[in-house]
Subunit: 163 residues, 2 copies
DNA sequence: CGCAAACGATTAACATGTTAATTATCGATG
DNA sequence: CATCGATAATTAACATGTTAATCGTTTGCG
């Protein structure tokens, strides 16, 4: 077996370039962890005919009386174009309702319909059950640490952006 | 201000259902943290005309000599349908090449072209620079803790699934 | 008042995520 | 060796992610 330059060239993309292995990539680690957790939620939501994002919208609306579209986008962490399509879907399913704000015809207030609240009431317990299993499996203390670290990470990145 | 049942009904979706506030949702926390980090990578990759996922594929291929499509999907954490489209794109751009495996005509081996290796060599340093900034801003120790917790979380969820 | 800049929301265009179905090939078995 | 179940990869169909452009509306300001 040759162990000369030819081999090295193959292993480092032929340009002497070194990059940490992809397993040590933070975005990848976050994605993998999230997908592991979401798998269970997704399966449950699928049984209710909802996507993860549709459920996020319903959930945010259940926490509040009514919200303008841009506020809803912020709280559900969806980009406006995605939210626009999701609202169209939820409206067609009669789960949400919109009405223009009198003082400013550009704005709209979105709220759950009675049927939307029923769906929330149906799904929320399953969601809570999955959370409880997760807490039990992972440990409350580690979970708390993880939340703190993730918050710190967001802050650190935001602070970096200023510099 | 009334604080009677009507108010409560509005605040809990009218069905006595309680769900933790969405800020305390682990999938949301993971998503937010990931997006905060990815924002910087995405901007850099955009300047190189690559998406996050296209870069993941190139990066995995740079670590290895050649990989079959299914192995590539596993390592780049992409679902086969997504990878299929991405490979079509990268092939058209002449960044990757495929060839059928003789022993099994169903399988294909994918590898970087010389041009693909050049792109890797161009992008990798920018990627490393962002990592270094991140490590500096967040702290090496906390980063290490975070990696460990994320790995534990994956394991805990996987173990749960058995039960 | 009149108009240009700013703003809220949507649409457009393309890439990826997700699940199901399809296609081509392989492999075991009768 | 013929056939059926399993496998690798792709395609299909629909939903969302991402960036840019568009469309009304509003607001600031001369």
């Amino acid at each position: 077996m040759s162990t000369g330059p030819a081999n090295l060239a193959r292993n480092d993309a032929g340009a002497g370039t070194v990059l940490r292995p992809i397993r040590r990539s933070l975005p990848m680690a976050l994605l993998r962890a999230r997908e592991a957790v979401m798998e269970r939620f997704r399966a449950m939501l699928r049984d209710h005919g909802l996507t993860e994002q549709q459920w996020r919208v319903i959930r945010v609306l259940a926490e509040r009386e009514a919200l303008e579209v841009s506020q809803l986008a912020t709280h559900s962490f969806l980009l406006p174009p995605s939210l626009s399509r999701i609202l169209k879907f939820l409206e067609r399913k009669r789960l949400v309702r919109r009405r223009a704000v009198n003082a400013d015809q550009r704005r709209q207030e979105v709220s759950l319909t009675a049927q939307g609240r029923r769906v929330f009431a149906q799904v929320a317990p399953s969601s809570e059950a999955i959370y409880r299993d997760l807490e039990r499996a992972f440990g409350e203390e580690r979970l708390e640490t993880l939340y703190l670290l993730l918050g710190d990470l967001e802050s650190a990145v935001a602070a970096e952006r200023m510099a």
